[in-house]
Symmetry: C2
Subunit: 427 residues, 2 copies
């Protein structure tokens, strides 16, 4: 089935600004609360939030097999469960309906008034109920930087790294959408040169620039998903700030991996951009040398050219661009990650989220964390307000943006933006 | 409010065998499917499964504030969310109703026929929807054994172990109830002395003898639960077999911890035994030296005397007892685990599950995994059928049992029993 929604020549009857992340070719999926306190599944064109629940009730999805309340839900899990064919039918239909040439909804003011909201009038929610959250570690540059700083500069990459898309389980309960502030975590750390740990606010809170993909039901327990089929089970992507407390991480992570240093918060952008929308931006990933084992081997283009930016905004200040990276630098593809994850029969459900790991590029300004940008605090970043940062200060806001662009269209993710509050103090 | 349900002198009008795990003083909670394909929340006395949904419809919980369909659900999450006071009221009421002196239900045959099933007529389900699964590593003996085998026999415990209840995130999607068979996982391993990994069935599949506790909603994100309050947020416990693939684990676990070596399956016993039922079996845990940091300090009895047994049954063979341990050996208490887990503001939800980590005692026969029992395969276990085991063979069944016993009563968990099937082969 062709992805007619991607037609680059199409314009919408909704006004879309030139540099918008959300032209009619994007059609992402999300969940929002309207000013009337109704929660619904929706999409976005330009600065309009579009209520798909209302559209379904008004019969705009006639002819597509959907349960009656498919879009009148507070998560996308059931829709994602319906599979790739349905996602494409719905997205194609939305493209048709908002095409400037199509009078059906364009000329029906009563329906428009029910269906379309100003984006500032709605409150974005988590788009899915995330059953399990896995975070990978798939940027070779990031793994190398960390290895150089904490282990052996001469043997920065661990022996398994070039063979395994290394990953670990994260915490679902603290994944929050853009806009929700995050408290600086309290935790145990070992002061330098000491043997007795102390408990208090983390002094080294960091962001990690990541993307994440959302899966559909992929397998039954015990079965694997072959790498050649894995892309069919990926619904779309979001931006992910995987907040990290470096001092807590250093003390706790051997031998079972990061735990409290990561699970206090992970922030995501609220619109899931579909893999169909990202299709025009496929590109070749880095050469994999040595060749992966057969169950991870892929041919063709499985990376995506997604420009990524991180801004740090001091309290009452202006945003400073602190990192500029690209998703195409990732060594392991999402399909390889998913094939590996299920190679042992691990069950993957609709709404599961899998993070890329910190996305660092080859140059210092493309590193995806303060840890790497300041090289462990040795080279602080100078902000335009004259202050410096080694890590993140209380009341700083971290904003991540992502977009794809070619000569014809720009498809973006919007942003994930959250403020770091001081540690919570019990009264 | 007194726990009248624990009255050791009470007898039920349901016949209970002398060594049953489920006397009227237990009253665990679970979810089962009846032969009429109705799913309900229930409890168990002797060999009777009791339909709490039917009891609620017949008004047996009158006077206790419960939503109308509290027990007509397929998970216990909402009930657990109601909190400790409600759990106790319901358990006390059930104790009263099944007391041999109480004619109300005893003498109402029509009601009894609706409410009570033979345990063999029902199919036990997962008792909760597990949002997040955390596994701790809190047996000093286990951590020491592993450290001796894999790291430095002289410095077997890592520096953080005596300060932190070390834990990591597991996978919720592959937690299954007793009775569901598990496939031997496929995965990457590094053959001894080689530098190139291979992919194939794990050769070293192991059990881990654990218990797990189930939490209620405990905090909002950013807030902690003090160690002195943590026990109030623990609903009850189950037995847990945390299946492990040792060869995969060894190759993958540095630096982010175990992943595919663990997430192919975790099996639990289906009845959640409440902390109220376990109250008479509190005991002092091991002395903690050095003293933990203040946020982890506890006074009094916070360990529980729970006898644990593991049986290995070869295909078509008889069960052999391979391990005999006790939960009281755990160095870190459940309250300390939960206080630590939330010390950084990590949110805990109703139905979350937290595993103890492998429970090994001080003597070789009390070790909680084949890895330790056979000391890495060096000392195979001889089975009564004449065969030997270094790890688990295809079609072996692993059964774990647990119970508390004093001069008056025995409170048990039943069992978690699952067969290891050969690796799944795609047709």
């Amino acid at each position: 089935m062709p992805i007619t929604a991607n037609n680059p020549n199409r314009k919408s009857w909704i006004d879309v600004q030139k540099d918008s992340d959300f032209p009619i070719q994007n059609i992402p999926f999300g969940v929002f609360l309207t000013k009337d306190d109704i929660i619904t599944i929706g999409t976005r064109i330009g600065n309009c939030a579009i209520d798909l629940g209302a559209m379904q009730q008004l019969n705009y999805f006639e002819g597509i097999e959907l349960t009656d309340d498919m879009f009148m839900q507070d998560t996308l899990n059931d829709f994602i469960s319906d599979g790739k064919k349905t996602w494409r039918l719905v997205r194609n239909r939305i493209g048709d309906l908002f095409d400037s040439e199509n009078p059906k909804l364009r000329d029906n003011k009563a329906h428009r008034d029910i269906i379309i909201f100003d984006i500032n009038e709605v409150e974005m929610q988590l788009p899915v109920l995330i059953g399990d959250y896995t975070d990978f570690y798939s940027s070779k540059e990031h793994a190398t930087n960390v290895g150089k700083m904490f282990r052996d500069p001469e043997n920065a990459l661990l022996p398994n790294w070039l063979h395994i898309p290394v990953g670990y389980h994260g915490r679902s309960s603290t994944i929050v959408p853009s806009g929700i502030p995050v408290h600086r975590p309290m935790g145990q750390t070992l002061p330098n040169g000491d043997t007795q740990p102390v408990f208090g606010p983390s002094r080294l809170v960091d962001f990690e620039l990541e993307t994440a993909f959302i899966t559909t039901d992929a397998n039954i327990m015990g079965e694997n998903i072959p790498v050649t089929e894995a892309e069919d089970y990926i619904f779309g992507m979001v931006l992910l700030n995987d907040w990290s407390a470096r001092d807590m991480q250093k003390w706790e992570y051997v031998p079972l991996g990061p735990f409290l240093a990561k699970n206090f918060a992970s922030s995501i952008s609220p619109w899931i951009v579909t893999m169909d929308a990202l299709e025009p931006f496929r590109t070749k990933g880095p050469k994999q040398e040595p060749a992966p084992l057969p169950y991870l081997q892929q041919k063709g283009k499985h990376a995506y050219d997604i420009s990524l930016e991180v801004y740090l905004t001091p309290n009452n200040g202006e945003p400073d661009l602190v990192s500029k990276s690209n998703f195409k630098y990732m060594y392991w593809s999402m399909a390889q990650q998913l094939a590996h994850h299920t190679s042992n029969g691990c069950k993957v459900n609709s709404g599961d989220m899998m993070g890329s790991g910190t996305i660092s590029g080859p140059t210092p300004e493309s590193f995806g964390s303060m840890l790497e940008l300041t090289w462990g605090g040795k080279n602080p970043i100078k902000l335009s307000n004259g202050t410096e940062r080694k890590f993140i200060d209380d009341n700083d806001t971290i904003t991540m943006k992502g977009y794809c662009k070619n000569s014809q269209i720009r498809i973006g993710f919007g942003e994930v933006s959250s403020k770091l509050l001081p540690s919570f103090v019990r009264k």
